[in-house]
Assembly symmetry: C2
């Protein structure tokens, strides 16, 4: 066929990236999905993703697709796992390098859904059955997020610059699916020394107003470079 113009001595799988995007709505953890407009799996939800170009690494490809399909850029992103099951795509042999990203949801409006591409946040526990092997991808991503948040301060990637201790606790509880004691959680977090308390308080709440906090990125970088570890 005339369009088949890239030829090789041995067959090659197609290479794609997919991106699991986590966001936090202040109550619980969410995942951004895109509804497929075409077969296979038309009408099913899936992670944004696409083919890797020859002049970009998989990470660059994942970032590019993320931006093209959702408008999101400059966020935390990390390689998750490569899925290569021979049968994972009914169209043929497709290997995908999955990434996961953490997004401050307030900084992005979802692109208005034309018919071709509808993006939507789903509560993690309400995610429906997904296209391809994306159920498996999501499970792996959630596990990674769980283990990662316990020893790296990635929670702050999901929160606005200013946030409160109860918000942070909800975030941890939602990701880890466990409850913390309010006092112990606060103690442990503050003992890391990575939070700055602001004098400003949350306005217009019908109860004692929580104070705003900020993540001390500078302090974290210092601790990082002196080989420091923490554990929540």
């Amino acid at each position: 066929m005339d369009t088949q113009k890239y030829c090789y001595e041995y067959p090659r799988p197609a290479l794609t990236t997919d991106c699991v995007i986590f966001g936090f709505d202040g109550i619980e953890i969410n995942v951004l999905l895109i509804e497929r407009g075409i077969e296979p799996f038309k009408g099913k939800w899936a992670f944004p993703g696409g083919f890797v170009r020859m002049d970009e690494s998989t990470e660059e490809g994942a970032k590019r697709e993320l931006f093209e399909e959702t408008g999101i850029k400059d966020v935390f992103i990390e390689q998750l796992y490569t899925f290569s099951d021979v049968q994972r795509d009914p169209r043929g042999r497709v290997v995908t390098v999955a990434y996961f990203a953490l997004v401050k949801t307030s900084e992005y409006q979802l692109l208005a859904g034309d018919d071709a591409m509808k993006a939507q946040w789903f509560k993690l526990k309400d995610v429906p059955s997904l296209a391809f092997d994306h159920d498996l991808v999501l499970r792996k991503a959630h596990n990674r997020l769980k283990s990662k948040i316990r020893n790296q301060p990635i929670g702050f990637e999901l929160l606005d610059a200013k946030f409160t201790m109860p918000q942070l606790q909800l975030l941890y509880e939602s990701i880890l699916e466990i409850k913390f004691d309010r006092r112990n959680f606060s103690n442990k977090i503050m003992k890391t020394g990575l939070l700055i308390q602001l004098d400003e308080k949350v306005p217009n709440v019908p109860h004692r107003a929580p104070r705003y906090l900020m993540f001390n990125k500078k302090k974290y970088n210092e601790l990082q470079s002196s080989g420091f570890n923490f554990e929540i």
Copy 2:
């Protein structure tokens, strides 16, 4: 060209696997390398690996290459990371899915080195500068091994069925590059309940003979399924 018979509408990177193989010689941790007989990087050392076939997953490919190049099979193997830098292979665009494997060295004789393929164990700290981006791959593999050995009993994949506490300690110390107190190490390990003490002792040593231990795989599987965690 006539040999270029697999054609696609868009260009595709080549897909390979590479395998970082760790072994333990009773004193310290070793890595198995293969000397390259052809360009690029002819004469340099690299990890065993090769192209992924269309009818196998990357993990199956990694296991196949491992067996073909070293005779090793049925060992612990796990996906490490996918390396996709555009420039990582001078021959063109090659993306590699790296794996790491843990081997009981006593169970394998290295294949006698014909001129095409020479395999050799290197002490981890004596590994020379490697071909491709394999220095980076090795660093990543070592980091993974370090973090993994602290909360999964993978150390036993590197030891014979019967081993001693001092051996186990040397193994941990070699991987983690730290020293443990003999008494605390023993206490901590035994408290996991994953070791069975045998009555048999090491023969012919010019000092008090250590007892042999065995890993209690059955117990571990039980604990696993009841959602158990440990930390060394």
